[in-house]
Symmetry: C2
Subunit: 314 residues, 2 copies
């Protein structure tokens, strides 16, 4: 069997480095904090990368800004999202003095819509779910000659997300592995491109949003049913082609975590660290705490806490 052309594997660290130079003056260098592995029952050194402190509350700001700066347009940009990508594109466009038109499913919460506006974007509410918003936003962007920024399956988005890895490398130079939640796979792809194989990049999925796991089993991206506590941020029905190709090339076995694991990790982060993350942002930590990912004794494991836009207290 011959693999499909592995376009993804043409992404290089240099691409991410170029993105880093581009976004570094504006994105936050999010902090890391080391926690005692004993506290969560693991023998590793554990370092949390607190990416929820990023502008707009998630790593999505990195990819959005890189995409906006690379778009080379004065016409503004568009996006389709009911989640973190929406506010990120609004923020990035506003920083670049461009208009942002964001197509939002009517299922999005009022708070998410308010955040798009708060960051300077125009929110177009589309009756229905994410597919309906795409059906409205894609032709609108084409008609208006406006660049549509995809939430994960574009090179500029992935390279932007990967800049998190270059920061992490400076902050935790002895990291053996980095655990990261995987939704569409943009952050995973960017990190893998930026810092593997020196660092083992491990994509983690909720059992109920396991599109990468399903794709690896099927040999190609396939749509899966998604649900559960993290579906708002990790819920694309199908994994991006790039993330699939990279994970297959690396022979990844995806650690899967239950909703209970995610809730327990989220509660621990709040009760013991006063870090209030959204469920998707706690998914990587849940793999470590639940034993779905087992660190080698004495290993140094970085864990990305990727977002904080679900404002309830556990």
């Amino acid at each position: 069997m011959t693999d499909a052309p592995p376009q993804a594997l043409h992404l290089t660290r240099s691409d991410v480095e170029a993105a880093h130079e581009r976004v570094r003056p504006v994105v936050r260098r999010t902090p890391v904090v080391e926690i005692d592995g004993d506290e969560i029952g693991v023998a590793a050194r554990v370092v949390l990368k607190l990416e929820l402190l990023q502008h707009t509350g998630s790593f999505k700001a990195r990819g959005a800004l890189n995409s906006v700066l690379r778009a080379g347009t004065e016409r503004g940009v568009a996006a389709v999202s009911g989640g973190n990508h929406a506010a990120a594109v609004a923020w990035a466009a506003t920083r670049a003095r461009l208009d942002a038109d964001v197509f939002v499913p009517s299922t999005a919460t009022p708070e998410k819509i308010e955040r798009i506006r708060g960051y300077g974007g125009r929110a177009h509410i589309v009756e229905g779910g994410v597919p309906d918003a795409f059906a409205a936003g894609v032709p609108w962007a084409a008609e208006h000659g406006v660049h549509l920024i995809h939430p994960f399956e574009q090179v500029d988005t992935m390279c932007g997300q990967g800049t998190l890895g270059l920061e992490l490398e400076e902050q935790v130079p002895d990291a053996d592995a980095v655990l990261v939640a995987c939704g569409g796979g943009g952050l995973y792809s960017g990190l893998r491109t930026a810092i593997a194989p020196a660092v083992h990049v491990v994509p983690v999925e909720p059992q109920r949003c396991a599109n990468l796991h399903a794709a690896l089993a099927a040999g190609r991206p396939v749509p899966v049913e998604v649900g559960g506590v993290a579906a708002d941020s990790l819920g694309p029905a199908e994994i991006g082609a790039t993330a699939f190709q990279l994970a297959r090339a690396d022979g990844i076995e995806v650690p899967l975590v239950s909703d209970d694991d995610i809730v327990a990790a989220r509660r621990w982060l709040w009760q013991r660290c006063r870090v209030l993350a959204e469920p998707g942002g706690c998914t990587a930590l849940a793999a470590l705490m639940s034993g779905a990912y087992v660190a080698a004794p004495g290993a140094v494991v970085a864990v990305v806490v990727s977002g904080g836009n679900n404002p309830t207290i556990p």
Copy 2:
């Protein structure tokens, strides 16, 4: 007029360094994050020291642990507190395999009491307020031959809190000033001892908890009426003698902030940084955002976000 013996001024940086060696293996090295001064309308470089991520959710863990380790007892320790000091002593004693008996006013919230127990302490609920809890706890400790750890006016407590300053010095070596909320003055005293005069240490008070401001005006510590949004953590009626002496020696003018300023800072921290601090923990930032403290253009200002134990979302 001759000043009272300035015992405080005998505290030295070496004392804080010794405390640092003692507590460093156990306390968290809390992270810092730089934010764009433009975002909050100041021309300075602003670096937040996220001490709310400390064990037990506030800087109090530092002083409590230093005190426990210095107590040289196998008998356990005691404390009187309805606030952050209570959980800190419970945590520190448990880490040192000692009993912690904490006397808590019945006005404390169930969550605060649960946290004492969650960190391994024994909570003695005393009908009434903090003075009633002191009236019960002090004789109990004497009778049982147990060391009572004061929340601010003890050398070991202050030196423990000062370890935050030694970390900050490594993390932000070019800081010109550090803003810190002042309640009893333990953290201010420790920081001042650790890093002044190289860094200008500025104690900030809520208008409604202005015991240091009142003491400087009166020429001695005097009891003041306290209230407002930050009284649960910054509400001692009288400033500690050490903090008073240090502030007077330095000719400090205390920036005062309103409750509205604190609420605005807290909301900004949550909405724009996904950092959920308690009102007392936002008081130093409120001084910068409100203009109560004016940074020199181009200055580097560190701001301590000192606690996160007030779990409501603004």
